[in-house]
């Protein structure tokens, strides 16, 4: 089996089988990462370009490590707003990158739909590393991988996702992926950040954190983007923490063996208490490690389609 598309633009476009394939492939690569020599020659001679229009440390680094472990050459291009000021269009930039010999373009952009636009207009494989408030598919895949590692399954798990769902590309991708694999989802947060219409996808919505966490197998916390404050979505970070911050007392509402996840970077004391973030139930660092294996799988599989 292989992927149907040369690109990974989002989880929306993947089937459950394709998600399964990526996770299986990632498991193989995770073994590789445990060896002394953590590198395979799978994509030797290929070139991966990380085209980042937004500042990112962990996702870019994770993709870079993944690409290097597959033996591809990696070029990092961080586009500051200055080139936009110079007037180069996205398509021109992408064509330039292509002319430099890119086989895979990993793109992060603040506008939703940008990877889809590139995928349609250029021949290289395009991998979405986060587009606006749309999707962050590799994050969702590494979340699934981590849950599966801890719980042995995805199906029928009760997953609570807490925070700014509306603006979170991580949450969106997680929701689509988890639903495709049969999990049950509760979304928890202030009404302005958890639109009611999401119920139509088959999820439950809570404004009350305690009720939402009741009996959960997995608690996924989202980063509160501080720039949302002052725009009226919620009155203050202080009040936010009172209502939706993850404390030990709230964790106790979930199942005894519930795990705690966060895509990072965390705002300690705003969405998550330090005692929880650093507790034995936290799998936050596993997520980071698994991210490399999952991204290796994605780069490897999209290259196969392109080949």
């Amino acid at each position: 089996m292989s992927l149907r598309s040369k690109d990974l633009t989002g989880i929306k476009d993947l089937s459950a089988e394709e998600i399964g394939l990526i996770l299986e492939t990632a498991a193989g690569f995770k073994d590789v990462l445990g060896r002394d020599i953590k590198k395979v020659p799978a994509l030797r001679g290929r070139t991966t370009v990380n085209l980042f229009y937004e500042p990112s440390t962990r996702t870019r680094t994770s993709f870079e490590v993944a690409a290097k472990r597959l033996s591809t050459d990696v070029i990092n291009i961080a586009i500051s707003t200055s080139s936009v000021v110079k007037g180069e269009t996205l398509l021109d930039t992408a064509k330039t990158v292509l002319a430099l010999g890119a086989d895979i373009i990993v793109i992060r952009h603040n506008c939703s739909g940008t990877p889809h636009f590139l995928a349609k207009n250029i021949n290289a494989s395009v991998v979405n590393a986060g587009d606006g408030t749309n999707e962050h598919p590799t994050q969702a895949l590494l979340d699934l991988f981590t849950i599966n590692e801890r719980k042995g399954r995805i199906k029928d798990l009760e997953i609570a996702i807490v925070g700014d769902i509306l603006h979170s590309r991580v949450a969106k991708s997680d929701i689509y992926a988890l639903l495709k694999l049969g999990a049950k989802i509760r979304l928890i947060g202030p009404p302005a950040l958890v639109p009611d219409c999401l119920k139509d996808l088959g999820v439950r919505i809570y404004t009350d954190m305690n009720a939402g966490l009741d009996g959960a197998d997995v608690i996924m916390m989202l980063r509160i983007q501080l720039e949302r404050q002052g725009k009226g979505f919620f009155p203050s970070t202080h009040e936010y923490f009172r209502n939706w911050g993850l404390t030990a007392a709230r964790v106790a509402r979930a199942k005894e063996d519930a795990i705690i996840m966060h895509p990072g970077p965390m705002n300690r004391g705003i969405e998550i208490a330090s005692e929880v973030a650093d507790s034995s139930r936290s799998v936050i660092l596993d997520q980071v490690t698994n991210g490399i294996a999952v991204r290796m799988a994605v780069l490897y599989l999209v290259s196969g389609v392109q080949g």
Partner: protein, 439 residues
């Protein structure tokens, strides 16, 4: 020049004619309408006296086709001066004539803004020289369309503006809108409202709902349009000014206008555009920038409500909101692409579907696309009455064709209707004394 159009089915609601007629045109005016067979009852028509016409420069056989007053489009963007790379008065009016439209009202969001009589005069002069159809400028309500101080409405009116609007933007300040509606009464001028509460639309780029959330695009709720319409109706009631609501797109907006008309509280008219009764927000899927328009494409229930509002005459006018943009501007990030649809060359084809589907009678359609806008604007168009301008369109309603944006006369190829199958388009348009036909 003398033109004779024979055998067409002439429909002119202004004279209550719907019959097989011949039309005689002389010196750019309608000379006479003749009904060949003695069965017509139209007040403006005479029974035909002679057998075959003699001494005409052009004879057009319109057998099997519709002969209508040239269409009047009261909401268009010609982009000149300032944005000639998107469209010019020349290319825009060539495109409008291709769509059977012989009169257009151009919105003032040019550069510089049409907020003073100098710009108004420039547009009129340019249109006389280079335009294929009649051009009636719409002046800005406020200086620079900034929504702060009234522009020189009186002088612009005297220079030829037929209405005032800050289209593209609302007049957010209620007091400024009140003053505009009051002041415009001096010349009984029309104020056209671009109804959008910017604090609610908040930078949104498509309709708000599950689709906007799952595409990760900022949404504009229907209520951004509706609260503004409610405000403007209240202000029109207060001031007794003449209010016209541009590009109605939501079910709630139709209901507000319907209620205001029923209660008779305000002098209010309303328009919608073909895209609001033809497609929904679903067209945005895949980040299709050609489906990005303001107000945004809405849901199915809104589309149905717009059709019902046209049917019961809550909505008086169908206008295109022709908004051409350059290819490069639409080729990129959805968030950054400008809003607008190039509408001239699909308008009649899409609108005629309403007649085919039974939502409108042919008479109603012509009222909304020619008669009503002329009446609302106070211009002597939209009629084939003897002595009126020979603005006329001959429509072929049995031509199967596929919309091909590359063949648009407009510089703007930005249309979500690329590839659509339509069955109506002009066979010929007569405008400013010229006959336009196309291969």
């Amino acid at each position: 020049m003398r033109i004779f159009i024979k055998n067409g089915r002439l429909v002119d609601p202004s004279q209550k004619i719907d019959d097989i007629c011949d039309v005689l045109i002389e010196d750019e005016k309608i000379k006479e309408i003749q009904i060949p067979k003695a069965r017509g009852k139209g007040q403006g028509a005479k029974e035909k006296r002679e057998h075959e016409p003699q001494g005409f420069d052009e004879v057009i056989d319109a057998g099997g086709m519709l002969v209508l007053p040239g269409l009047v489009d009261m909401h268009v963007h010609l982009r000149e001066p300032g944005f000639e790379y998107k469209e010019t008065i020349k290319t825009g009016t060539e495109a409008s004539v291709r769509g059977g439209i012989t009169s257009v009202c151009c919105m003032p969001n040019t550069n510089p803004v049409n907020d003073n009589p100098g710009i108004t005069e420039f547009i009129i002069k340019k249109a006389v020289q280079e335009g294929s159809c009649s051009v009636f400028p719409i002046g800005a309500i406020t200086k620079g369309q900034r929504g702060e101080e009234l522009a020189e409405l009186g002088m612009m009116f005297d220079a030829g503006c037929v209405a005032f609007s800050d289209d593209g933007k609302p007049v957010m300040d209620s007091l400024v809108m009140r003053r505009a509606l009051e002041y415009s009464r001096i010349r009984k001028a029309l104020i056209i409202s671009h109804a959008e509460d910017m604090s609610l639309s908040a930078g949104g780029v498509m309709n708000e709902g599950l689709l906007s959330v799952t595409l990760g695009l900022r949404g504009v709720p229907s209520q951004a349009e509706e609260v503004m319409i409610a405000r403007d109706i209240a202000l029109a009631e207060l001031t007794r000014g003449r209010l016209h609501i541009a590009h109605v797109s939501t079910k709630g907006a139709v209901e507000l206008v319907r209620l205001a008309k029923k209660r008779g509280i305000a002098d209010i008219t309303a328009e919608t555009c073909p895209h609001y009764f033809s497609i929904t927000e679903a067209a945005v899927a895949g980040y299709n920038t050609n489906a990005k328009v303001n107000p945004p494409l809405r849901r199915k229930e809104d589309l149905e409500a717009i059709k019902a509002g046209l049917n019961d005459n809550t909505i008086d006018v169908i206008a295109t909101d022709h908004a051409p943009h350059h290819k490069d501007e639409k080729l990129g990030e959805f968030d950054l692409a400008p809003s607008g649809i190039s509408g001239f060359e699909t308008s009649i084809g899409l609108s005629m579907k309403l007649v085919d589907e039974g939502f409108l009678t042919l008479n109603q359609l012509i009222e909304k696309m020619a008669v009503n806008p002329s009446r609302i604007l106070g211009i002597r168009k939209g009629t084939l009455m003897q002595g009126s301008d020979a603005d006329l369109v001959i429509l072929d309603t049995h031509v199967e064709y596929t919309v091909d944006t590359a063949s648009f006369r407009s510089k703007g190829k930005n249309s979500p209707f690329e590839g659509w199958k339509l069955n109506t388009r002009p066979f010929a348009t007569i405008s400013k004394g010229r006959i336009y036909t196309w291969d």
